[in-house]
Symmetry: C2
Subunit: 84 residues, 2 copies
Amino acid sequence: APPAKPARLGLCAACHGETGQARIPGAPNLAGQKPDYLREALRQYRDGRRDIPVMRAAVGPLSDAELDQLAEYFSAQTPSKGAQ
Amino acid sequence: APPAKPARLGLCAACHGETGQARIPGAPNLAGQKPDYLREALRQYRDGRRDIPVMRAAVGPLSDAELDQLAEYFSAQTPSKGAQ
């Protein structure tokens, strides 16, 4: 079965959409992205190596397990070619 | 018509695949990604804000026009859900 919706999904969905289709300019699509890439990117947003304030605010308090759950969830979503 | 293959595509394809399906662990899928996100990410790899040596080596010498062409090309590719 696909991964359950993470508790914190609402926070991400505002910009990335509930199924990983970006909703705002500048935000990436996440659907179908490689999970290892997402796990690493999330850690870099959390520790500031990727210095993006809105992402640091969003994932700053999250545990590794929560980051990994979000990575698994979005990588399991089906990307749609449509919304460029 | 979809964008023509950029001259430098071979350099990217080694890790990201010719149609934006990542070939190596840690590399992201690029197919169907938002073009504005890709343009900005490429600039951050070029100027070191994203401090990833292999990417700095790959795009360091590229012009803005070349970065934008690569962003357009990969965003126009169709993502495949298959290869996670």
